[in-house]
Symmetry: C2
Subunit: 106 residues, 2 copies
Amino acid sequence: MPFMPRFTHPRLEDVPLDLALHALADPNRLGMVARLAATERLSCTDAAPCDSIPKSTLSNHLKLLRSAGLIETTQSGREMINTLRRDDFDRRFPGLLDAVLANAAT
Amino acid sequence: MPFMPRFTHPRLEDVPLDLALHALADPNRLGMVARLAATERLSCTDAAPCDSIPKSTLSNHLKLLRSAGLIETTQSGREMINTLRRDDFDRRFPGLLDAVLANAAT
């Protein structure tokens, strides 16, 4: 059987601006992106905005962040590891993530 | 009877970042903001993204843009005139609208 990636990730050129903004327009998702920007890589559990978030909600947030080209999820042993697609995203939407993160931090 | 404004506009400090991003995360609304950024003032009809948009949809878009502190709507004779609250918005979210508009234009 050929290798099948568990998650799919879009080419950034296929991500429309409104999807990128929609992915960032949620305090939980934005918090996850800000944490990944500061931490480089996080398991799905560690990426969660709080311990009490339902697994399906967390999974949906991660899925939307992936579909917007913001994060990459890869398997590492038994863990799923998330990283920010910072370079890809910055190349597609210059200055956008910087502006959003700067305003999120205030 | 005291003067009652027909529309209310939030103080920008009361607008959360996620609401601002949500308001911009729609191609029709973003197009209206981009047009206002280029045109200074537009009637509601002229601000519409297309002629076929239902009046209630247009009204909801304008209402959301107002609630996010992006536009001001004032009465001028029989017309409602929309302007971008550019300075207010830029002071609250430095660099954000510039980054979004630059990416919308490409």
